[in-house]
């Protein structure tokens, strides 16, 4: 004990303020914790409560508890308490801290909880540099469930699921969580401490306090691993278990500071204040000023419109944009519209297609299975959908020659080398707009002003607006010429 005074350490007597005066867990046991004699949890609980007291953050503290022997944190700590699912405490704590940046958020987890089932959550919480403090109790076994192996079980250590002792083959090695997290850049403080003797206990108390202090200072992710005795599962008495931490566990899990960036780390700036509520619709682009000119070019009343279009081509040909432009123009004209795309990997390989409906009645199904107009930007797309075109309908096909075996006598066809035509106009990528122009001419339902309004709404660059306008106009005149021929 002679070292104690040298370290300027005084043993706390009595109950920390951050502990409840009595524990409501069981009616008959209000004076005692549920921990076994000699258990490390009780010691760490006391250290944690002291640290909360010393830093005067009891009101601000939110403790996220684990599943395991530490599950009852909320029966002992008189702070805000949240009980998490097995292994998820650090994910829960991450969101609590982001929700309440002023709070001091602690995640308290054991080795099964943190190092096994919650390995992904702790790794990513650390890697994101969440401003939380994690207390990790490593006693090398699953205690709550009766002594099964943990990822931290020592080589040779027996457990109910390693009755002959852990072997490197096939069980692998004890997981060094502190060292693992210390490979990450974000954490500001990582230390492994033990409860193996009084000297270790004092270092543990300091580390736990530092972990909290770092958060009070707003520094970032702090992690304290505590090698803790479990006399019951280890089948030792309290003293033997404490010495086993120091004499055996520590050889596998060396104590020490693995990361300390607390000096050079600047406190994090406070989050930007939220915008005023009345600005939210504008930010989302749904305020009155953001809406389309809307019904500005409403067509004459009473005219029946029911345009069902299928547009298909290679990904990258602007199939979806063509459809969107059509729908946007329909909306501008005061009509009901729907646009339904193919989606997913199709967008990245091969074909793409979409369904567009424009109607003056409410649209029942947006799924177009028998289109009145098929815009086929390549041959595979033509062959996929040509039979579906309803009698009397149109196929607008991007190709010099319409394949002979696709010819039907009950539909109209406009087959032109639209890509080449667009290229001659200035850019082959405007082929979709030339075809849109042809479609608009053939269907004859949308006013030119609506198409122009849609174009300006969807295309941001003036160069493209100009080119697309030219393309749409040209497509329209090609279709008109074709109609005259007929």
């Amino acid at each position: 004990m002679s070292n104690d005074s040298a370290l300027n350490y005084t043993v706390a007597q009595g109950r920390a303020t951050s502990f409840f005066p009595t524990f409501e867990r069981k009616d008959e046991l209000q004076h005692a914790t549920h921990f076994c004699p000699g258990c490390g949890h009780g010691v760490v609980h006391k250290m944690l409560a002291r640290a909360i007291d010393e830093l005067a953050v009891q009101d601000r503290t939110i403790l996220v508890g684990p599943v395991g022997c530490g599950v009852f944190t909320y029966h002992y700590f008189d702070v805000g308490n949240i009980s998490a699912a097995h292994g998820r405490a650090s994910a829960v704590a991450s969101a609590v801290k982001r929700s309440r940046p002023e709070a001091i958020v602690l995640s308290y987890q054991g080795d099964g909880d943190l190092a096994a089932i919650g390995a992904a959550e702790i790794l990513h919480s650390a890697n994101r540099g969440e401003s939380i403090t994690v207390i990790f109790i490593n006693n090398a076994v699953y205690s709550m469930t009766g002594g099964q192996s943990a990822p931290t079980t020592l080589l040779g250590q027996k457990s109910t699921t390693n009755p002959e002792g852990r072997n490197a083959i096939p069980d692998g090695y004890p997981l060094h969580v502190s060292e693992l997290l210390a490979t990450l850049e974000a954490p500001v403080y990582i230390e492994r401490v033990g409860l193996g003797d009084n000297k270790q206990l004092m270092a543990a108390q300091r580390a736990i306090r530092r972990g909290l202090e770092n958060q009070v200072r707003g520094l970032g992710f702090s992690f304290i691993e505590v090698l803790a005795p479990c006399p019951t599962i280890w089948k030792m008495n309290a003293v033997e278990a404490q010495h086993w931490v120091r004499d055996v566990m520590e050889k596998t899990f060396p104590l020490g500071v693995m990361r300390d960036k607390t000096k050079e780390t600047e406190p994090r700036p406070a989050p930007a204040s939220a915008p005023a509520l009345d600005r939210i619709p504008g930010i989302l682009g749904v305020a009155e000023a953001d809406l389309p000119t809307g019904n500005a070019h409403v067509m004459e009343q009473g005219r029946e419109v029911d345009l069902e279009v299928r547009i298909a081509g290679f990904g990258g040909q602007g199939v979806l944009l063509l459809g969107e432009m059509l729908a946007e123009a329909g909306l501008d004209a005061g009509l009901e519209v729907s646009w339904l795309p193919s989606y997913g990997p199709e967008m990245r390989s091969g074909t793409s297609n979409c369904h567009v409906r424009i109607s003056n009645a409410v649209i029942d199904s947006p799924v177009v299975t028998s289109p009145g107009v098929l815009v086929a930007m390549n041959e595979p797309s033509l062959r996929k959908f040509d039979r579906a075109v309803r009698p009397g309908g149109w196929i607008i096909y991007n190709g010099e020659e319409f394949p002979a075996d696709c010819v039907r006598d009950d539909i109209h066809v406009l087959a032109l080398p639209f890509t080449q035509i667009a290229n001659d106009l200035g850019d082959a990528r405007a082929a979709n707009m030339v075809m849109l122009g042809a479609l608009l001419q053939i269907s004859g339902v949308l006013p030119r002003e609506s198409v122009s309004a849609a174009l300006r709404r969807l295309i941001k660059h003036q160069r493209w607006v100009d080119l697309d306008e030219k393309a749409i106009a040209h497509g329209g005149s090609l279709a008109a010429a074709r109609s005259q021929e007929e």
Binding site: D59, R60, T61, V64, V71, D78, G80, N81, I82, S83, A84, A85, R88, A91, V92, A93, S94, A95, V96, R98, S99, R100, E102, A103, V105, E121, H124, R128, A274, P275, L277, I280, P281, I283, L284, G285, V286, E288, D290, L291, P292, N295, E324, A327, L331, E336, V337, S338, W339, L340, P341, Y343, G344, P345, D364, S365, P366, V367, T369, S370
Partner: protein, 364 residues
């Protein structure tokens, strides 16, 4: 108010933020990813939190943390991701935490496909997680409903302190339609049970643990009472041309849209067909089924899954009327032509009994 053209997935996020949601924790998956992308764009600009989690397991547990801290929070995923989230959904229901989860369904089981399917019905409506709990489930069938039901979902989530699902298929998520939003944004109040790191909330506790049998039973009965109340107050459905219908078609989501087209065409062919579209899948509109069963001769369920909705319709009708079934799976969406064909066959089956006796005799 004027409308604008928007994807269903985008409408969800904008409606959520207007409804006071200020946190999105998620993980990308087709066909729900636009929801995460839209949230990533707008949450930070509106004072909210966006985190792309390491997994759906982490995402739902982050939602647990955000909700426990009193923030309106949501996530979105699709089949495989929803499977992973079921742990957290059970915990949130147990701990009575509100949240909104959008499931934009795709094909399953397993990796299935990214195509449009409705096979998540059971895991969402029946509760895919462990324990005695339910989730409230809303099933939008248009972009406007994606917006409107998202707003409703947040209201219900807080009213019942329970997770609320939006169950929409890939088509409803991916399609664009005109949509309008409320003109004003709502500011969510911090619930008084939340754990916010203040002296006033220091005694608050969020947990789903009740080790004592009597306490857990009391808790389960309390949850049951909430679900029973939701059944009385929150059930919604759309009845479409059902007043004189001999055949009532039943479908939700994009199927509901297709069934409307079927109704129109069937009626043009002289078959009296209507549609019952559940908007809440839990609570299920059992009373509507019983009421329509007094007039209709048969019901027909149309779904993009293996009879999952069918089970609930059978329970609702409790044998009152025969229930026929038409389904497509794997990403094949039923066309209105093939459903119409099915309806014609059904009409022919039930026709003789509905004809006056002399007409039947005339056939002989």
């Amino acid at each position: 108010m004027r409308k604008q053209l928007m994807k269903g997935n985008e409408a969800i996020v904008k409606s959520a933020i207007l409804s006071g949601c200020r946190a999105f924790y998620g993980y990308p998956i087709t066909p729900a990813s636009e929801i995460a992308e839209t949230a990533a764009l707008y949450m930070p600009k509106t004072g909210g939190i966006y985190v792309q989690a390491e997994s759906e397991v982490a995402a739902i547990n982050m939602l647990y943390g955000a909700a426990a801290a009193g923030v309106r929070a949501m996530t979105a995923s699709s089949g495989p991701g929803i499977s992973l989230m079921q742990e957290g959904v059970s915990y949130m229901a147990g701990a009575e935490l509100p949240c909104v989860i959008a499931d934009i369904t795709r094909g399953g089981p397993g990796l299935g496909s990214i195509n449009c399917e409705q096979g998540d019905y059971n895991q969402v409506v029946k509760g895919g997680g462990h324990g005695n709990y339910r989730t409230l489930v809303l099933a939008p069938y248009s972009v406007q409903e994606m917006a409107d039901l998202t707003a409703l979902a947040f209201t219900l989530a807080e009213r019942y302190r329970n997770p609320v699902f939006l169950l929409a298929d890939g088509f409803v998520g991916q399609m664009m339609e005109p949509v309008e939003f409320p003109e004003k944004a709502i500011e969510a109040e911090t619930p008084r049970w939340a754990v916010t790191g203040t002296a006033a909330t220091r005694s608050n506790l969020v947990t789903s643990l009740y080790l004592d049998a009597d306490k857990l039973e009391a808790h389960a009965r309390h949850l049951e009472a909430k679900y029973e109340m939701a059944s009385r107050l929150e059930t919604r459905s759309e009845l479409w041309q059902t007043d004189d219908a001999d055949i009532v078609l039943v479908g939700y989501g994009i199927t509901g849209r297709i069934l409307k087209a079927v109704c129109t065409e069937a009626r043009a062919a002289g078959i009296k067909v209507g549609m019952l579209r559940p908007i809440t899948l839990f609570p299920f509109p059992n009373d509507d089924f019983q009421r329509l069963a007094k007039r209709a001769r048969a019901f027909a369920v149309v779904e993009m899954s293996n009879g999952q909705l069918l089970d609930d319709v059978r329970l609702a009708l409790n044998g009152a009327r025969p229930v026929e079934f038409f389904n497509r799976m794997g990403g094949n969406v039923p066309t209105h032509e093939e459903v119409l064909h099915f309806v014609r066959a059904l009409a022919a089956q039930i026709a003789p009994a509905s004809q006056p006796a002399e007409e039947r005799l005339a056939h002989v």
